[in-house]
């Protein structure tokens, strides 16, 4: 079919393009658009999710068979194994979050969008949280089975995993954007991220251990407070810093 001339919007040469709505409007709609785009692209290839899932599975398998796990010591090692699996698998996903955009040349297109840059951050962050959560949904049942944990711990465990994932993905998304223009970005991301994310991982491991040991809430609430505090700090800092980080 031959190309058609643009007949609908004859005012194109003015500063009144079609759909001129206030920039701040539909902020959340644009966050969801980015999340939807990332999920659609991932579902088409499933490259990242399958890699993350297989990797986390391998970590749990290897730890399960490497250590001499008996009922009395399983609870000691289990929290660490769970969070190593989540952190390492999450790193794979975070590493690809912005690098894929840059390698495929779509990062500029995203940055050109008429939206506050923080919307791009939150879109990417939510996408990462969803991808890591999908992997967690797959490995948590295996974790319960391999480490002989009662089903009663699942609700509290899910709560801690959600809080830990928010903190990890929150700062991880920021660092993923930070290293995207560097040459050694694949190596640089874990080197930069893990020292910063220690408070989140440490408190998540302690909380997981407390839940598996059936400790009362009072005994672990300081760790819960620390985890929530770091989640808030990391998200707030990322919200403020992201615009400067993606600046050329």
């Amino acid at each position: 079919m031959p190309p058609q001339t643009d007949t609908k919007n004859q005012s194109a040469a003015t500063m009144q393009p079609a759909g001129a709505a206030p920039v701040r409007s539909r902020y959340f709609y644009k966050i969801l658009a980015i999340v939807y785009k990332d999920i659609t692209a991932e579902l088409r290839t499933k490259e990242m999710l399958s890699a993350m899932f297989v990797f986390s599975l391998l970590v749990i398998f290897i730890f399960n068979f490497t250590f001499d796990l008996r009922t009395d010591n399983a609870a000691t090692l289990a929290p660490g194994v769970l969070w190593v699996a989540i952190a390492f698998a999450g790193m794979l996903g975070l590493g690809r979050s912005f690098i894929v955009e840059r390698d495929r040349g779509s990062l500029e297109g995203l940055l050109l969008a008429p939206v506050d840059r923080s919307a791009i951050y939150f879109g990417k962050f939510l996408g990462n949280v969803i991808f890591i959560s999908v992997v967690e949904v797959g490995i948590l049942p295996l974790f319960i089975v391999f480490f002989n944990q009662p089903l009663a711990v699942v609700p509290a465990l899910v709560g801690v995993v959600v809080l830990g994932t928010i903190g990890f993905a929150g700062v991880g998304t920021l660092f993923s954007a930070m290293v995207v223009h560097t040459r050694a970005r694949d190596v640089l991301l874990p080197i930069l991220l893990f020292p910063v994310v220690v408070p989140v991982l440490l408190s998540a491991v302690r909380l997981t251990a407390g839940i598996l040991d059936a400790l009362p809430l009072e005994d672990i609430q300081s760790w819960l407070g620390l985890l929530i505090t770091f989640d808030v700090i990391f998200l707030a800092a990322s919200f403020i810093l992201f615009e400067y980080i993606v600046e050329e």
Binding site: T14, V23, G105, G109, E247
Partner: protein
């Protein structure tokens, strides 16, 4: 429409743009020529609000890009040598995503319209990675005009296109209503630059060294300037 005032851009100690002054009127088609490393892409990037100037001001429709970047982006469409598209998504999904990001009203009809304009109707459901380079660039043009921006920035849009696809670029740009937009285009193709541009600028070592009306210069004349820069 586009006003660049005393623009300086430096990366560390390396100064890429030196006191650039450009004033582009609404509806103008300006071609920016220059050898590799002259600063064309850096200048385009700053006008597109993707980079910040070290000194100086860029005004788009009277608005300072340093203060109103997010708002100004609504009025700009960028076609670069990179397609800015997602290979794993279909052509239609790419346009749907950008339609959401730009708040394009009645997006379904608009997407259909631009797909027809760039001649990709019928291939819109296919993943972009299955498109030829020429088709990807046509989709990139569809993406850039989707929100009907009054300003179109074309940064070497013919890079990577074969002779046939590159020669069709002018026709394609005319079909998408280029003559009703303010256009700034960089290219290495002097003939195309002179034939399309109402005005021709030559950038050399970060400075505008030539500013002439398109009908007063020839590609042959510019070629001598151009090759002397390269040499």
């Amino acid at each position: 429409m586009i006003k660049v005032i005393k623009l300086v851009k430096a990366f560390g100690s390396r100064v890429v743009l030196r006191n650039i002054d450009i004033d582009i009127a609404p509806g103008d088609f300006v071609t920016l020529l220059g050898v590799n490393g002259a600063g064309k892409t850096t200048l385009m990037s700053i006008i597109a609000t993707l980079g910040r100037p070290t000194a100086g001001t860029v005004l788009i429709g009277g608005m300072d890009t340093a203060q109103h970047a997010a708002h100004i982006r609504r009025y700009i469409g960028l076609v670069s040598h990179k397609t800015l598209l997602y290979d794993d998504l279909s052509g239609e999904q790419n346009l749907q995503f950008y339609a959401r990001m730009y708040d394009v009203p009645d997006s379904k009809a608009r997407i259909n319209e631009v797909l027809h304009q760039v001649g990709l109707w019928g291939r819109q459901k296919d993943p972009v990675r299955t498109y030829s380079r020429g088709m990807q660039q046509r989709l990139a043009i569809a993406r850039a005009i989707l929100h009907n921006p009054p300003i179109l920035l074309l940064d070497e849009p013919d890079t990577g296109l074969d002779q046939n696809a590159a020669s069709m670029l002018g026709d394609l740009l005319a079909a998408v209503g280029m003559n009703r937009r303010t256009v700034l285009m960089t290219t290495h193709n002097l003939e195309r630059g002179v034939s399309l541009g109402k005005r021709v600028l030559v950038l050399d070592k970060g400075k505008i060294v030539r500013d002439a009306a398109g009908n007063t210069v020839t590609a042959a004349e510019l070629k001598s300037t151009y090759f002397s820069q390269q040499g």
